[in-house]
Amino acid sequence: MTAYTPTHVGTVTKYVIVESFEITPADLAVRGYEIAEGAMIKETCFGLVINGKEEEVDRIIAELRKADPDHIFVKDRGFPPGDARRCRANLGGARPGYHGIEHEMTVIPYVSYGLEQIKKRDASAIPHPENPREQPVLAIEKLKKLMEAQES
């Protein structure tokens, strides 16, 4: 058994994921480097990974979000950027957790559209989505029609 000495203690790491026609990860990275005061910023194909003190990371993210608020998404990450236990460069193949992001990236354009629309529309006029736990009940009239169709 080897003793484990953690690095980056007391810091947080967050993903900034860009799904925009107007902003690229490179644009955000440049802006991030400009305003960062000691945080580590890594540019990736889908956005940025930012590591640093919580207040500093939140400040940078709040500033970056202004570029395109409805198309920039943020999520916590457990590991610091480039950690050998998680980094694709060391492991080969997709990084664990990549597939989740890959799947949600197919849905994110609808969410971005939703974020844009709720500012323009009246909230009370937007119907509530179907509750997936509610089993649809067969209406009596429909059952009657089905029975009649079967009998005739």
Binding site: Y4, Y15, K75, D76, Y110, G114, P129
Partner: protein
């Protein structure tokens, strides 16, 4: 700020929405970070030690596989701390191995047993569903009150 458990616990969309509307998302990254930043014995990649399945006994019986109990030591405290929950029901990508699948079932069961506000949704499949999805989450989180 209300602590909102998100399911799937790794969801980018839910994590962002909860934080965007002023609350605290309880996601797996937070639990992993806690272990990664705590000194102890080397146990890569996630610093899950043989102690974790023992801690998991609080939420799963002893005959439940150690994989499920180990995972529950991450998620169990978050389920207990949760004051609200948003659950996406068609998150097929979170299936993983049987350990993940059974843990997911147990998490959903514990959340349903808990008397907290819950929002059940499916992923949107078109733009109009996207609007309904975002609107439902926003209304739910606003009604919780105490947003930052």
């Amino acid at each position: 700020m209300v602590k909102v458990f998100i399911y799937p616990a790794t969801s980018l969309i839910l994590s962002d929405m909860v934080a965007r509307f002023g609350h605290t998302p309880l996601s797996s990254a937070v639990a992993i970070r806690e272990r990664i930043q705590t000194p102890g014995l080397e146990s890569p990649p996630l610093q899950i030690t043989p102690e974790e399945p023992k801690k998991g006994l609080k939420w799963a019986a002893v005959e439940v596989p150690a994989g499920v109990r180990g995972r529950m030591s991450l998620y169990g405290p978050m389920v207990e701390a949760a004051e609200a929950a948003i659950i996406i029901n068609d998150a097929d990508f979170s299936f993983g191995c049987m350990g993940c699948a059974r843990t997911n079932e147990l998490i959903k069961f514990l959340l349903r047993e808990k008397k907290i506000p819950k929002l059940d949704l499916n992923y949107p499949k078109n733009e109009e569903e996207g609007v309904q999805f975002v609107s439902a989450i926003k209304t739910f989180l606003t009604d919780l009150g105490g947003a930052k």
